[in-house]
């Protein structure tokens, strides 16, 4: 049973990482970036190339993938989001979805439909922790997710850049009037989020392999985690990720695999009905609506 717990926590860590990236973008721009999980997917392929074609050690691969992710994130913001910032419609969901689909198409075109694996961390084999079995990759994923979540939380609430971002996401115009360069903040948020998913991509690939439809599967689950944890809450994403991952694995373990998605869906519905703002919504003062 502990093994199931570890499996749940590690897949939950992947969801949480994507959700944290969603949050970074959301806090900086109020936009939900559907393509985030697809950037991670591209990152996994780059990790494969780094490992198999260039024989780069893990650390270097992480840096390379982070850079790639950052680049894609920045380009995405400039191309797909910037122009819509002033229209206030919800077209960003469609444009970022479009980017996600394009990224899948590119992956399919360049790397084909066969999944690829990365050779990293194989040498550690399987570990025995607290009575459950877990691979080194999975363990590191859990640790990295924790670090990323707490780090992002600290960054956003204790540093001036973080607070600036929070302020901007509340009221863009006010921020502009205060001299905050909202444009750069937006690009920065996308870049940082891209770098985050890029950096963890080699690690994620050790668990999920690189496959062109990885983005799809992760995007929606990670959103669920985001909604559950509360938009804009990094600690919420962490907690929600663990809950969803563990719930999934336990449902599969004790009910059967067809029940996995259904169980999570029911959880989503219940949460939306009871706690419409998620577990840790950033308690907003009532907005001036009229």
């Amino acid at each position: 049973m502990i093994t199931t717990l570890w499996a749940g926590l590690s897949i939950g860590a992947v969801y949480a990482l994507v959700a944290i990236a969603y949050n970074i973008v959301f806090v900086g721009t109020r936009v939900f970036n559907f393509a985030q999980a697809y950037i991670l997917m591209i990152g996994t392929f780059i990790a494969v190339e780094a490992a198999t074609r260039f024989n780069l050690p893990l650390i270097v691969a992480i840096v390379v993938c982070a850079a790639a992710g950052a680049l894609i994130g920045a380009v995405e913001e400039i191309v797909a989001v910037r122009r819509l910032a002033r229209t206030g419609s919800h077209n960003e969901l469609v444009t970022t979805l479009g980017i996600g689909v394009i990224l899948s198409g590119i992956a399919l075109l360049v790397w084909g439909s066969e999944p690829r694996s990365v050779p990293y961390l194989k040498e550690f084999g399987v570990l025995e922790v607290l009575g459950g079995r877990i691979t080194m990759g999975e363990l590191l994923l859990i640790v990295v997710a924790l670090v990323a979540g707490v780090g992002a939380w600290v960054l956003s609430t204790r540093t001036s850049i973080g607070l600036t971002a929070l302020a901007t996401s509340e009221d863009r115009d006010a921020a502009m009037l205060r001299g905050i360069n909202v444009r750069w903040l937006a690009t920065g948020a996308f870049t940082l989020a891209g770098a985050l998913v890029g950096a963890v991509a080699p690690l994620v690939a050790t668990k999920t392999y690189a496959t062109y439809h990885l983005g799809e599967g992760l995007a929606v689950k990670a959103f669920l985690v985001l909604a559950l944890g509360g938009f804009g809450s990094f600690l919420g994403a962490l907690l929600a990720g663990s809950i969803v991952g563990v719930l999934e694995m336990f449902a599969a373990r004790y009910l059967g695999s067809e029940w996995q998605n259904i169980t999570v869906f029911v959880l989503l519905l219940i949460v939306l009905l009871v706690l419409p703002h998620g577990l840790f919504s950033r308690g907003k003062a009532q907005e001036r609506v009229v």
Partner: protein, 404 residues
């Protein structure tokens, strides 16, 4: 305010455009539609884009080489063969639409009915109504239904043969409790159902689990199986799932004897997604054609196929049976047409279930021994010795290079 001019104008333009386009459907690869007199037309519906692109490409290559070989030899019953390939993109509805467009142009003499069971099942009603002969390597039991689909045939044996062979093997090894992990897609469902019927009947204690093809972690399912304390584990699957399943098994440290099938060994090229550590105590039950133990090495047919593949620069990264199935399909239809001296579907179907043995070296590659189809069974009529057991390994030029 909803504008009222554009709407009508648009609707009219659309209708006009539709009628015009509909009158002139575009060309599919490879042909101008088929000249009915004097040629034997083969229409192949393959999924050249999408997740089955790799295996579709292999099948296309096998088809093209077979057609070239037959044409060089005088064609089918004197008629040169024309091959038309359509990309159905793994979409059953699209496959039928493309088929209908072909039927509108000129009825083909033979149709390769797709590379996935969903496509086949969607195409078969139309094919039957139009009395068109079809064949393919798709596997679902529903396809093998001579009462409903009298003109449809398969190049694979019936699904039940797989568990029957497994039952024999397991009985020999003295196993009593069998655990089974399979995919939750069309192919997986067929095979799981077959195992679910055959094994308990043969006296085995069977527990079954399944995973969705998009699942990332099969630890849960394997643990459930582990709980029943089996003697042997059977894993069915292909693609990423295969890798995850093996990895999960390694993670659990479960050293049980495990048997995979051709799907597990193919396509994804096991070596690309798992490593030798995962192959501990793993065996593959595959057709001999995919291994060094094949008996057709040296035959004219086999040598031609393999040399042409290399000559045409094929990536040659799928299991041999994928290239060979289509070769065999065309050749068996050739045999039937020439035996019946006619190419209409009812006559050819009749000949296929009453095939007379050929003299000389067998032109068949996957299953070279002579077997005829029967009125009850439009899939290959084989026996359990079709399956052999090998250790896994990388796939090189269609052959599993077993590790030891």
């Amino acid at each position: 305010m909803v504008s009222k001019i554009w709407g009508p104008a648009l609707a009219l333009t659309t209708a006009a455009a539709l009628v015009l386009t509909g009158c002139a459907p575009g060309d599919t690869d490879g042909g101008d539609g088929g000249d009915p007199a004097g040629t034997f037309t083969i229409y192949a519906s393959l999924s050249l884009t999408g997740p089955l692109a790799g295996s579709s490409k292999a099948q296309q290559e096998g088809l093209e080489i077979a057609v070239d070989s037959i044409n060089a030899d005088g064609g089918i019953n004197g008629e040169q063969v024309e091959l038309i390939v359509a990309d159905d993109q793994l979409d059953p509805t699209k496959a039928v639409t493309l088929l209908q467009e072909q039927l509108d142009k000129a009825q083909p003499d033979l149709v390769i009915h797709g590379v996935s069971s969903a496509v086949s099942l969607a195409m078969l009603p139309l094919l039957t109504r139009s009395e068109v002969l079809s064949i393919g390597n798709t596997y679902a039991n529903a396809i093998n239904d001579p009462a409903t689909f009298p003109y449809a045939f398969g190049t694979n044996p019936v699904v039940a043969l797989d568990p029957e062979a497994a039952a024999e093997l397991f009985a020999d090894e003295g196993y009593e409790k069998v655990a089974y992990l399979g995919a939750n897609d069309a192919l997986g469902q067929s095979i799981a159902e077959a195992f679910g019927e055959v094994l308990p009947d043969a006296g085995f204690d069977l527990t079954q689990e399944s995973y969705a093809p998009t699942d990332l972690d099969m630890t849960a399912q394997l643990q459930r199986l582990q709980a029943s304390n089996p003697d042997v584990l059977v894993i069915q699957g292909y693609g990423t799932a295969a890798g995850y399943a093996l990895e999960s098994r390694t993670k659990l440290g479960w050293d049980i004897v495990t048997y995979g099938d051709g799907g597990l060994g193919n396509g994804n090229n096991l070596a690309l997604i798992s490593s030798e550590d995962d192959w501990n105590n793993l065996f593959l039950r595959v057709f001999a054609i995919n291994t060094t133990e094949r008996e057709v090495t040296g035959t004219a047919a086999f040598e031609f196929l393999t040399s042409e593949l290399t000559k045409r620069g094929s990536s040659f990264d799928q299991l041999m049976q994928l290239y060979a199935h289509q070769w065999d399909a065309v050749h068996v239809v050739k045999q039937a047409v020439e035996q019946a001296d006619a190419k209409d579907a009812p006559s050819v179907a009749e000949a296929l279930v009453n095939l007379e043995p050929l003299s000389g070296e067998s032109p068949y590659i996957t299953f070279p021994e002579f077997r005829s189809y029967t009125t009850d069974n439009h899939f290959r009529n084989l026996s359990t010795d079709a399956y052999i057991v090998v250790r896994p390994g990388p796939v090189v030029e269609g052959t599993i290079e077993s590790i030891e």
